[in-house]
Amino acid sequence: MQLVDVARFEGLEGLLYRHCATAGLEIPSQYIPQLKLAYRQVAEQNCVALAKLEELLRAAASDGLEVLVLPGASLMPLYPDVGCRPMDDIDLLVSPGQMSAAGTFLRACGFEPVQRHEGLYTNEGLTLDLHTDLVNGDRIQARSSAAHIDMSEVWDNARVQATAELTALTLCLEDALLYTSLHALRHSFRRLTWFVDFHLLMKAQPDWQVVEHKVRRNNATKSLHYCLHYLENHLSIPVPRALTTADFPALGLVESFLLQQLSRTRPESEWGEVLWSFSCKGIAGKVSFLREFLFPRPEVLMQVFPRLPVVLIPLAYGLRAFQLLLRGSRQLGMLAKSR
């Protein structure tokens, strides 16, 4: 696969174009229109989305709502410009006590709730995803037991970021690193963009002692370790000397194997949640975590099968079992192929 194809696949055409343009690297003429178009499209979408977001945040603040902008929108200032990182939606954090009021506020602003997806709102091409924690624990509760994140500490450490791209309340650098590692793992390291985020966050010089303290307190040591390991061993990106993978307990055989598979079969890999289950204590904890991920509560399962009528919820579990069988076979097939 050529570099331009990889960049398109990963949504990083804009970053590639920007880098070539500013570094004086000559792009073969046949690729310029494609890269330039992608760069301009992302820039336009982000420019409009961030402007609308700022307007909304101001209105929300005057309504007494406290809203924190999560990565990636909050990471936009770390990139060279707004054309370098695509955003599918904007993730926002609100306190559980303000979730309902935030929904009412968004509806009053013209946003429509997305059917069956609690916290998801859309208006004129802008999608906002409201969260009350950093691991989507309201969707899969077992995630909250896999990573015990102290949300009051997250809010206490939040900082106002005022840049040309965005003025908003955001996570502190250390929490942003923690969030990005958990997010990437939850999605099986599927997108390279999260590792670019991670790399740029590392370059922003977080306090690694604070990071270490946080991941230990929040039971997120493994997810950070996996991310750093992946960066170092599979993407050849040096990790900071302040905190290297040698500082973590050695990876188990299964963990190492799954990480290797994540790399080999990315972006189709789906082993992220399995890997995350290693953060749970004991066999029972791991099984419980995976059980809820594989067979979540009905409301969540209905999101997996959005066209299935609500009255057929019991059928959804049968469909889910069939779906898992297919996906599992595919993953095992890829495992066999990669060996």
């Binding site: 500013t22 760069y39 301009r40 820039a43 420019c47 409009v48 402007a51 707004v82």
Partner: protein, 109 residues
């Protein structure tokens, strides 16, 4: 903070054009972009138009813009003047520049 369309000087002659301060400008690798939230329109600028826009923001004269274009892109004065005027025309047509008389509320930057 103006680009004079004619005469090579700004301010008070009714020909000066100013950048609107209520729109959002983003610098890009190959020019710039302006988002006008009132009309919900996005304007993509090439490098020349971006240079003229910045000139409108900081109060440069059109002659300065032409000099900058000549120096940056190694073009002759005639070409640079033509390009600069085309960019001014594009920005004006997009409603992004305002005449000095109506721009009196905008403080010079």
């Amino acid at each position: 903070m103006a680009v004079a369309e004619q005469g090579g000087h700004s301010g008070g002659d009714g020909n000066s054009l100013w950048a609107r301060s209520d729109v959002l400008y983003r610098e890009l690798a190959d020019g710039g972009m302006i988002y006008d939230s009132s009309s919900k329109q996005v304007h993509h600028l090439n490098e020349t138009a971006a240079l003229v826009w910045r000139a409108c923001q900081r109060g440069a004269l059109i002659t300065e813009v032409v000099d900058e274009l000549c120096a940056r892109y190694s073009v002759d004065e005639q070409t640079a003047t033509k390009d600069a005027h085309a960019a001014v025309q594009y920005l004006s047509a997009g409603g992004l520049l305002i005449r000095s008389a109506s721009a009196s509320k905008i403080p010079p930057s």
